[in-house]
């Protein structure tokens, strides 16, 4: 009996520890329960890199970490997943479009001098670009106004034949049935690549930046982005501007292959170029665009391009609803099982309900300890594991009943029941765990949450079914008043000789 008491003391200590753990370390809730956005980014191999290596994934993560910090989102977490994916969690964020934009771009900044002898072509292209952009902006504003049910602003149109001619000149085929907006976008893309092609390869890139800032334009409402270079960058910038000063050639500022600004350098910079290690990009940015660009430039450019492959956004009240419904489901599931066990197995059933409550407590404590982030599928795994945990008790108690019917004494029946049921219980748990391992190794986010909670549940239920139930039952059996077979099964099923 001393051994049973030792076990009992251990179980009691564990229960108290688990309770204390739960009080001091609250459970971590996933975004589907608390509301927020989750973005999954895939790092793509590019250029000479055929597959993404661990160091490259870490390098991408470093850059993105800096950008996220620059955005100033509270409590965000960025984790690497698998070989080539990153998951960003933004609790409470309901509009991830800004984060998606800032994270998704490579932000490779290049300063490139215009190739000499292309001045005329450049002027034509830039004029076309301004025109197309203006028409496009207006037609977008119009579409937005229609969508929001506001009165429509007057329509400005690029003359259809002008548009067609410009596209033809640029060698762009017009897709049949395309709308004006689509054609304008094609035109802009074509003009942009032509413009970029008129610049020489970059001598100065964002790598030589030490900082970035933004300031409002003195005239006009737009914003400029200011840059400061390191000494190497300052020297290169001076050289670059000296080369083109007063020649009419433009300085192109190219971001991710798109020309965002084409600047002239006045003849006064001919002797030494623009010195001082600073520059500013006048791109007529909105306040937000300027801030985002600043954040991206400060964070540095991504060593490899990334692609947004998954975005999940859950509103906070939906999350609260999910918590409420899964809590009700878990509690009513537990209650149903408890009623069933007590009705069918009487005293033993009551003991198993106690063991089951301990099981639930230990489970939650382990979630807090590891820590496991609870998601909706995770809770489903937990609820399912309740059912499976009881299975072990059913197997044992059925065996105990059988032994009792055969006329064995109560204590002996209990011991035999536990030892004979062990083999089936073990097989069941091992096959269950095999499924969990397969799910965890190959599954993605949602699936993993389920696999983790189910696996923890299976391992724990081995412990509670075999140890807690047994110890509690043996302890109760030390009270002669409880040592009655009729507390275990109806008297009618007992052989006549047994009491």
């Amino acid at each position: 009996m001393a051994r049973q008491q030792g076990w009992f003391a251990l179980i009691l200590a564990l229960a108290i520890a688990a309770g204390a753990l739960l009080v001091s370390f609250p459970l971590q809730l996933g975004l589907d329960l608390r509301g927020g956005s989750q973005l999954t980014l895939q790092v793509l191999p590019a250029g000479s890199i055929k597959s993404v290596q661990k160091e490259q994934l870490e390098a991408v993560k470093d850059v993105l970490d800096r950008r996220i910090n620059g955005l100033g989102v509270a409590e965000s977490t960025l984790q690497t997943v698998g070989d080539d994916q990153l998951v960003l969690q933004l609790p409470g964020e309901q509009d991830p479009s800004r984060a998606a934009k800032v994270l998704g771009t490579t932000a490779l900044l290049e300063f490139r001098a215009q190739t000499s002898g292309t001045e005329q072509e450049m002027t034509g292209l830039l004029k076309l670009k301004r025109q197309a952009q203006a028409v496009l902006n207006q037609s977008r504003a119009r579409a937005a106004a229609i969508a929001n049910g506001q009165p429509e602003p007057p329509e400005t149109q690029f003359k259809a034949e002008d548009l067609a001619r410009s596209l033809q000149q640029l060698g762009v085929a017009i897709p049949p049935g395309s709308s004006e907006t689509e054609q304008l976008e094609l035109l802009l893309a074509a003009v942009n690549s032509k413009v970029v092609a008129l610049f020489e390869p970059a001598t100065l890139t964002g790598r030589d930046l030490t900082g970035a800032g933004r300031q409002q334009q003195q005239s006009g409402s737009g914003w400029d982005v200011t840059l400061s270079f390191n000494s190497e960058g300052g020297r290169k910038f001076a050289e670059l501007t000296k080369d083109i000063a007063g020649t009419g050639r433009l300085l192109g500022i190219v971001l991710d292959g798109r020309s965002i600004s084409e600047a002239t350098v006045g003849p006064e910079f001919k002797p030494a170029g623009i010195t001082g290690g600073g520059a500013s990009i006048t791109g007529n940015f909105s306040a937000e665009e300027a801030r985002d660009l600043e954040v991206q430039l400060r964070g540095g450019s991504l060593p490899l391009p990334v692609k947004l492959i998954e975005v999940r956004t859950v509103g906070p009240s939906l999350g609260a609803e999910n918590i409420r419904s899964s809590l009700i489901a878990a509690l009513s599931g537990l209650a149903l099982v408890a009623v069933f066990m007590v009705v069918v197995y009487r005293l033993a059933g009551l003991v198993s309900v106690l063991a089951l409550s301990l099981y639930a407590l230990f489970n939650l404590a382990i979630y807090a300890l590891i820590p496991v982030t609870l998601t909706l599928p995770g809770i489903a795994g937990f609820i399912l594991s309740i059912g499976m945990a009881v299975d072990a008790n059913v197997l044992i108690f059925e065996r105990v009943k059988e032994e009792l019917r055969a006329g064995n004494t109560l204590i002996r029946s209990i011991d035999t029941g536990f030892s004979l049921a062990f083999s089936s219980i073990l097989d069941g748990h091992v096959t269950g765990l095999i499924s969990c391992v397969a799910l965890f190794a190959l599954g993605t986010g949602l699936v993993k949450g389920f696999a983790v909670t189910l696996a923890i549940g299976l391992v724990l239920s081995l412990f509670t079914a075999l140890t807690c139930t047994r110890t509690l039952l043996r302890l109760l059996m030390s009270y002669p008043a409880l040592r009655r077979s009729t507390y275990f099964l109806p008297a009618a099923q007992l052989p006549a000789s047994a009491s």
């Binding site: 975005v311 149903l336 099982v337 069918v344 299975d391 197997l395 059925e398």
Partner: protein, 326 residues
């Protein structure tokens, strides 16, 4: 009844319930269910709108799903899905350089809860485009509750990855379970346990194929999870009966295999039913109270575990005599 503690030649157990007497009925029932499942899967595959054995959900096809709740006091004004569809078709969402504009004309709009909530199925949208779509819906449906909005976007590459991952993890877990069972039991037991596993998974899939055909129910990665869980559970259930047959082999050697099976099934019948019931009870709670996200997941598990319980009583043991005779 028990033969484990005091066996005697004279007290050979006589089962109250003899499963082998009903085996033809059991086989017919299971064959019929399997046949219907195969037909359902085939019809799904041949259906040009589906083109796969099961109707793939957002997880596998990729795309964006937007769930919205209208803010209306009392009764919501009626909302026609085609109105929303038409507005979205005329929408021109912002497009990033180098990317194609999503085709919003193909949006599927569902109005649920007496017009209170909306579910949109769209092509793959970036968050900015999703915001434009939501504001367009707002113009048609009136004020929305932003706290109850859910947006899921799965890119096409991730959809492929999820599908591949699900199929691979299904196959790997089946293979691993087969290996474990073969290691623990003899080859006939293992083969039958795996046959049952196939039976249970096939019927679960079949039910969802029919649901996909009739009610448009889709399968997602959680469905794959439920199949793997069902597979594990199916084997567990079957093993309980086989464990008993193995344990009694020496004690009951005088009996025919078919009688041995009857004794084992009779002895384990209550516990087979009870273990399934204790697993089904929490699942039923999940179906009724777990909310929409977990509803079909819980349904799939419930079907799979109920079928698994049936096959462990009616299919695996009754087939054993056929195999053992050879």
């Amino acid at each position: 009844m028990s033969t484990t503690t005091a066996p005697a030649a004279s007290s050979l157990p006589t089962p109250r319930f003899r499963i082998s007497r009903h085996r033809r009925l059991a086989w017919w029932g299971s064959s019929l269910a399997c046949g219907l499942s195969v037909i359902g899967l085939a019809l799904c595959w041949l259906n040009p709108a589906i083109g796969a054995p099961l109707r793939p959900g957002l997880d596998f096809t990729g795309g964006t799903q937007i769930q919205l709740e209208r803010r209306c006091d009392g009764a919501c004004t009626p909302l026609n899905p085609s109105q929303v569809q038409r507005r979205l078709a005329g929408l021109q969402p912002p497009v990033q350089a180098g990317e194609e504009a999503p085709n919003l004309a193909a949006t599927a709009v569902q109005v649920l809860d007496q017009g209170r909530s909306l579910v949109l199925r769209l092509p793959d949208l970036n968050p900015e485009q999703a915001a434009v779509v939501i504001s367009a819906v707002q113009a048609e449906a009136g004020a929305l509750n932003p706290a109850a909005t859910a947006i899921d976007t799965i890119g096409p590459t991730l959809g492929d990855q999820l599908l591949k991952g699900s199929v691979i993890s299904l196959l790997v877990s089946f293979a691993a379970i087969a290996a474990y069972i073969t290691f623990r039991y003899d080859r006939i037991f293992a083969a039958l346990a795996l046959l049952c596993l196939g039976h249970d998974v096939l019927i679960t899939c079949g039910v969802f194929a029919w649901l996909g055909l009739i009610a448009g129910i889709e399968v997602d990665s959680l469905f794959a999870v439920s199949l793997i869980t069902v597979a594990g559970y199916s084997v567990t259930d079957t093993v309980v009966v086989f464990d008993r047959i193995r344990e009694q082999k020496s004690l009951l050697s005088a009996l025919s295999v078919s009688d041995q099976v009857d004794v084992a099934v009779d002895a384990t019948l209550t516990r087979s039913l009870y273990t399934s019931l204790t697993t089904l009870l929490p699942l039923v709670a999940l179906i009724f109270f777990g909310g929409s996200t977990l509803f079909w997941f819980a349904v799939a598990l419930t079907i799979g575990i109920a079928v698994g319980s049936w096959s462990s009583i009616g299919v695996a043991p009754t087939l054993l005599p056929l195999f053992s005779r050879r």
